[in-house]
């Protein structure tokens, strides 16, 4: 803790203001320095570091049980534009801003190595996306969260359409269509109805629905929320995520494995815990329905992933599956599973960002995109492929990687909820994870190189390899840091 103590000292409200302004100022500076690429990349790195440090300032307060709060202005009577830091948001903000630092390093190597165009636009929208992710994490009420949720969708549209060709445009259209459509069609409806019925949208410990909303209406609202939060990628509204893979890999890595998709499941947890309240949710008929849908998504997406030869597509479907772990955790409605869901946000982030970083590094170094092309690559890219191995283990949940602990909690949660079948679902999914994540590793290390390829050492640029090694090691570190994380998340239920 000494490191944290050395870096702290800011008043909490100042830290919140900083966390929200730094990415915006960074965006402006990135645009202004667009003509000098090296300077621009330094600005990106500094912005990411600044954001992470200001979020870190809030950690001691949250650990001490405080909930720092800032109100910017009153939007409509009784409805504030406000921020409040609680354990779950703290976790999400730390993960997304911390991994942004590594991603901004990685992006330097990738964007130059892969010969992508329009770098300034890319970095600028990236910064706006992280701004919105931070806003989602720190939002004090559902309305503030919704605003940032929409900004996140809109700011990632240019990133998905980045390459500008027909496939990218089509992918981006589906992306923005599904995400905007579900959020306006279902989520906004649910928010308005909640506001109408309860007169508040504040995230409150224990929920706001109890005694205000009948169980029938509550059941409908739950379905509206769960499908309205399209970023959580519940089937059948999951198509946007595989489509988003046309984006450059740093986008897939940070946004479509961490910031955007985790913003979705984060919102699911937040709505379940702070709007509905776990006790209230237990009484709803649709809680089980959503649970089964999540279980179906979880297994279905894994089976689709098995059949994908394209590495990024396989990882995308794997993400769809892993997101449903968290939705399922929320639907089990007990503390064990909810904490497990919160932990899984972190663990899966480290595992999946590593895997995407590796996929991008492989593309930069060898232009290979398919799993079947990876034969013998372990000899040419040992660091990358070993990191891939660690990332895969983290997603699968094997010690000594952090993924073990979140799965552990989720399975314990299913027993506590007396849904032993869900424990079986988690186990079956683990087997499927092994089946689709380990073949790239075994091919790379155990099979010979194809005919005619020189066996020389040929890694991606250091800007790619160093970040991916660090995130892989982060997965290992989380194995040992799981206990403090768990303690912090349990603070959600102490009030």
């Amino acid at each position: 803790m000494t490191l944290i103590e050395a870096l702290t000292g800011l008043a909490p409200d100042l830290a919140i203001y900083l966390a929200l302004t730094i990415p915006l100022v960074g965006t402006v500076l990135i645009v202004l320095t667009g003509r000098w690429p090296n300077l621009r990349e330094v600005v990106t790195g500094l912005t990411a570091t600044g954001l992470f440090l200001s979020v870190l300032q809030l950690l001691p307060f949250v650990l001490a049980g405080e909930r720092p709060e800032v109100t910017l202005f009153e939007f409509l009577p009784g409805l504030d534009f406000a921020f409040r830091v609680e354990p779950l948001g703290m976790t999400f903000a730390l993960v997304s801003s911390g991994l942004w630092i590594l991603t901004s390093l990685y992006a330097i190597g990738y964007m130059r190595g892969a010969g992508e165009a329009h770098h300034t636009r890319f970095y600028a929208y990236f910064a706006i996306a992280l701004f919105s992710a931070t806003g989602i994490a720190l939002a004090q009420n559902m309305f503030t969260l919704f605003i940032f949720y929409e900004i996140l969708t809109l700011s990632t549209y240019p990133l998905v359409a980045h390459k500008g060709h027909e496939a990218a445009r089509k992918g981006a259209r589906i992306y923005v269509g599904l995400l905007l459509g579900t959020s306006i069609g279902f989520q906004l409806m649910a928010i308005l109805a909640t506001w109408w019925l309860t007169g508040t949208l504040d995230f409150t410990e224990g929920g706001i629905m109890e005694g205000q909303v009948g169980h029938g209406v509550g059941a409908v609202l739950l379905v509206l929320y769960m499908y309205g939060i399209g970023k959580a990628a519940l089937m059948p509204f999951h198509r946007w995520l595989p489509e988003a893979m046309v984006a450059p890999t740093p986008v897939s890595a940070l946004l479509h494995a961490v910031a955007v998709v985790k913003a979705g499941v984060f919102t699911v947890l937040k709505v379940s815990i702070y709007l509905f309240g776990l006790d209230y949710m237990q009484a709803l008929v649709t809680t089980d329905l959503i649970m089964y849908i999540a279980a179906f998504t979880l297994l279905g997406a894994s089976i689709v992933a098995l059949q994908k030869d394209n590495l990024k597509a396989r990882l995308a479907y794997s993400t769809v599956s892993q997101l449903s772990y968290i939705v399922l955790g929320a639907m089990l409605v007990n503390q064990y599973a909810a904490v497990g869901g919160g932990m899984h946000i972190v663990m899966h982030a480290f595992g999946k960002i590593t895997l995407f970083f590796c996929a991008g590094a492989i593309y930069v170094a060898s232009k290979k995109t398919e799993v079947s092309q990876l034969d013998g690559l372990g000899r040419k890219m040992p660091f990358t492929m070993f990191a891939f191995f660690l990332g895969a283990l983290c997603v699968i949940g094997v010690p000594p990687l952090g993924g073990l602990w979140s799965k552990f909690h989720l399975v314990m949660g299913s027993f506590e909820a007396q849904h032993a079948m869900m424990a079986g679902v988690f186990m079956l999914s683990t087997l499927l994870n092994i089946a689709y994540l380990l073949p790239p590793v075994t091919r790379a290390f155990l099979r010979p190189l194809p005919e005619g390829e020189s066996p020389g050492f040929r890694e991606a640029p250091a800007f790619c390899v160093v970040p991916l090694s660090l995130t892989a090691l982060g997965g290992v570190a989380m194995f040992f840091l799981a206990s403090p994380l768990r303690e912090m998340l349990e603070g959600m239920f102490i009030y």
């Binding site: 929409e150 359409a161 500008g164 445009r169 306006i184 069609g185 409806m189 308005l192």
Partner: protein, 493 residues
């Protein structure tokens, strides 16, 4: 001075019109005079707004003839809000007008153009400010005839046909109004709106009054382009000069909607209009169809200006929907949308005006590649487009929020769903333009197109930013709309 305020906006614009006619040789001076008149009218309106918010309803006897015999100007929160929209938009487009008009209108006709513009402006201000039924008709005609001339000056030859269509429909509308007003006069012997409101209950159970109501309702509906009486609107907006489209889209239909509100709620009263004659059963389905069908039609348009024209018809539907609820919240949502849609649409049409100025047209082929060629113009278009869709932090969202709450209040859950669903149609048509502008290669002849000049760009951005400012800072608009709705619901006291 403050006593004369209610008349000033109308008087200033009306007096400036003949003055501009005298400046035939100096188009530049004609523009400057018009600009000065518009800004003076805006200053007077803002002063009037402050005054009304301070002391409440203001009555002004035109020429010193006391109401109900003379013409009364009666300003309350409802119409001062509309006055602000008209005066504000006309003042803001004047800097924009200079170069846009020079490029679209022959030099010799420019003073005539500004004269007609001032008359249209004066007519709309007059309809809004007056408290006299016959005066409403007169000013409607002034505004309408001036607009026919303005639309017919469009570069495209089809503008003449569009203007003719508008003339036929508009004349039918105002004639109906006149008949309705005549009937009311026969029955009550008065033309003063306030006086009418007091005398109508005694005679309301007669067929003459009911016929008068029908004539007035249909006449005003024609003017406000209520579906299916909207057929004049798409052509008129598409072929009119850019600046005229901006002005008319922001003000003309809004003023007619205000008259509808005034007649239904203040003059005939809520009981007569909605309980006895059940206008909600007429307005409600028309509003729903009017939202749905034009939105779908808009999706299939290939000309961005025409697309937005259909979107205007759909947005009239939103406003009428709020009116049909016959609740304070519903009327408040409508008043908000009158303001919000005015600035949003004005910003969008201005951005298109910039495109016309540089690229020569607004068909999607011509707009291709403009995202790179005219980055600031297209950025304004996208922002204002988001407001049209109703994304949070824009004014469009504020409207939607209140409109949906109003429908929930009346227990109409399906309508709330419907409203959210139709805003997705707006996503589709705005996105069509975005894709053309950002992801397609420009036409060969447009390869060297530059960003629009600052005199076009600055007003466009001012209006676009207003869409965001009032989307974030809501007390001003929501407060006035609330007072206006309460005033209208209360009838004349």
């Amino acid at each position: 001075m403050i006593d004369q305020l209610p008349a000033l906006p109308v008087v200033i614009t009306m007096a400036a019109a003949p003055l501009v006619m005298c400046l035939l040789r100096w188009p530049w001076l004609a523009w400057a005079t018009t600009t000065a008149a518009c800004w003076a009218a805006l200053a007077a309106t803002i002063a009037l707004l402050h005054h009304v918010l301070d002391v409440g309803t203001v009555s002004y006897a035109m020429g010193g003839w006391e109401p109900p015999f003379g013409i009364e100007y009666r300003i309350d929160a409802a119409n001062v809000f509309v006055l602000l929209i008209i005066a504000g938009v006309s003042a803001l487009i004047m800097p924009f007008a200079k170069r846009s008009v020079e490029s679209e209108i022959e030099a010799s006709k420019i003073p005539f153009f500004y004269c007609a513009f001032l008359l249209a402006n004066c007519g709309l201000l007059g309809v809004t400010a007056t408290g006299d039924a016959f005066n409403i008709f007169v000013f409607f005609e002034i505004a309408a005839i001036a607009s026919y001339a303005l639309i017919a000056m469009g570069k495209d030859r089809r503008a003449v046909m569009a203007s003719y269509q508008y003339l036929v429909m508009g004349t039918v509308g105002t004639t109906f109004l006149l008949i309705g007003i005549g009937f009311l006069y026969i029955m009550t012997g008065t033309l003063n709106l306030n006086d009418l409101a007091h005398r109508l209950p005694e005679v309301s159970d007669t067929n003459t009054v009911r016929a008068a109501f029908a004539f007035l309702a249909v006449g005003v509906s024609l003017k406000l382009a209520l579906f299916p009486l909207h057929l004049w609107l798409p052509n008129a907006y598409t072929y009119a000069p850019s600046m005229v489209t901006v002005f008319l889209s922001a003000t003309a239909t809004k003023v007619a909607i205000y008259v509808l509100l005034r007649l239904f709620y203040s003059v005939f009263g809520i009981e007569f209009s909605f309980e006895e004659l059940s206008m909600n059963y007429v307005l409600f389905p028309l509003a729903l169809l009017g939202i749905l069908i034009p939105s779908i039609v808009a999706v299939f348009q290939n000309n961005a200006k025409r697309m937005l024209a259909y979107s205007s018809v759909a947005n009239v539907g939103y406003i009428i929907l709020g009116i049909s609820f016959a609740t304070t919240l519903g009327v408040m949502a409508s008043m908000l949308h009158i303001f919000n849609h005015a600035i949003t649409k004005a910003a969008l049409f201005m951005a298109l005006g910039c495109v016309v100025y540089r690229a020569g047209g607004t068909s999607l082929e011509r707009m291709a590649g403009m995202g790179q060629r005219m980055p600031w113009t297209m950025a304004a278009f996208v922002l204002a487009g988001l407001s049209l869709i109703g994304i949070p932090l824009t004014v469009g969202f504020i409207t939607k929020w209140h409109l949906i709450l109003a429908s929930l209040e009346t227990g109409l859950w399906p309508i709330a769903v419907f409203l959210l669903g139709t805003s997705l149609l707006a996503v589709i048509y705005i996105w069509k333009v975005v894709e053309a502008a950002y992801f397609r290669e420009p036409l060969a002849e447009n390869a060297n197109v530059q960003e629009a000049p600052l005199s076009l760009l600055v007003p466009t951005w001012v209006l676009t930013l207003l869409c965001v400012v009032f989307g974030v800072y809501t007390p001003f608009t929501v407060g006035i709309a609330e007072t206006a709705a309460e005033t209208l619901m209360g009838g004349f006291l």
